[in-house]
Subunit: 252 residues, 2 copies
């Protein structure tokens, strides 16, 4: 049984709390947040506190807080040599105070406040300074049904960057398609199955092999027609750059 | 019962043939292709031909052929006033020869040669010159389990353009993430659940509402760190443009 003190009350902290409490192999001993009101609804099921000096002894202190606050809060912890981990994709492991045993537990997924999270669908990138602690993080991930991957800080930061491409930027392409089709009174629903299928395809086929369309065929006529259809100059520029990127990838 | 003469032997034609033959409401009377060898494996279940003048009478002639060939082949058809439809996303309905009753049956989905297609997952964009023919196209779509949408040529061409954004361009973002992570020996599998979740989210939430990440938060520190991590100047430019696009969309 691994005991956890949870620190923070954002999306990640809350989803992790809900996953932790349903595991037979974990116990959340305490939940700390500076603003107690954000976790007060949980006070009947877990010890809550807003006093950092009251933190009890636990196997792991999991800080799911803002990137900018990790360094200072880890330094303010009223103990040494206990295992403290953060959940950030971009903060280095050494930004945790050096008085501590340090680790990272980065869930690579997008979380919404409302929707419940199935952690079997959330890869966890784990890292520890001390090899001896890696087992605890593996157990933690497995206890909530997640697959874990050992990555170093540079790899984790690269994954965080890659996630911006496959999540934020991809979502912006969806948004542009939404704008373009809205302008012609087209139901965005028509595009939804294609969006799903495009994501599904690369689960088994590499994006390189999955590519189709006018750019990879170097179909100049269609590309020209599309550029003419695009009214927004920013969309035009993006179309040209992404077309050039596809051509370059495929040696056209 | 609707009878069909199928024209062409590419991905779309073949997948449609397989869907048509399993429907109780449709019968494929004949399958034409210039190169008979491409459809000869089907000769025991359907009449095949490579002679355009041999085309029999049918309710619908469905041309699933190259965009560039549609005009000429429709003019070469040895009859007038029968319903001829093409499956292209970008070819205007008037490019079909004017001696014919004309229509469009555009499946908005990505097809691979190998994987079987579930047409309940393929929206069909339909258009006819003569209102009286729209019912036939609706029946055709419904007979293979597809949802149909009536769109005009401009809307269809806009959908085709939008599909490039949500399919080809999105896939290229996956590819870039693959390149970036490969360069640091990171297993691309780690990103796959996020790719799925990003697509899944916009099935119920608008891309506008679904957006997260450094650009929409205007998190300059992370953006700067990401740009530093990117070694390829083309990837850097794309990162900057897509970040600017997100900021503009969200008024940052």
């Amino acid at each position: 049984m691994i005991s956890i003190c949870l620190i923070g009350a954002g999306n990640v902290a809350t989803h992790l709390y809900n996953a932790f409490k349903h595991s037979d192999h974990l116990t959340v001993k305490q939940w700390y947040n500076r603003d107690l009101s954000k976790i007060s609804t949980y006070k009947n099921e877990v010890v809550i506190t807003n006093a950092i000096e009251d933190l009890q002894i636990a196997d792991v202190y999991l800080m799911a807080i803002n990137d900018d606050a990790i360094g200072a809060l880890s330094a303010a912890l009223p103990f040494n040599d206990r295992l403290v981990i953060h959940t950030s994709g971009s903060v280095g492991i050494h930004e945790l105070d050096k008085k501590l045993k340090r680790g990272v537990f980065y869930p690579l997924q997008t979380f919404s406040k409302e929707a419940p999270v199935d952690f079997s669908n959330v890869p966890i990138c784990i890292e520890t300074l001390d090899k001896a602690d890696i087992g605890t993080l593996k157990t933690l991930a497995e206890a909530i049904g997640s697959k874990w991957y050992r990555v170093n800080t540079e790899q984790r930061q690269t994954l965080h960057l890659s996630a911006v491409f496959v999540n934020n930027f991809t979502n912006q392409l969806y948004r542009i398609a939404h704008e373009i089709s809205d302008a012609k009174n087209i139901d965005f629903d028509i595009l939804k199955p294609l969006i799903m299928e495009t994501a599904k395809k690369v689960q088994t086929v590499s994006p390189y092999m999955a590519q189709t369309g006018p750019a990879v065929r170097n179909d100049k006529k269609t590309i020209k027609r599309h550029l003419k259809l695009l009214e927004n100059p920013n969309h035009k520029t993006l179309y040209q750059l992404l077309t050039a990127s596809i051509k370059k990838t495929h040696g056209k």
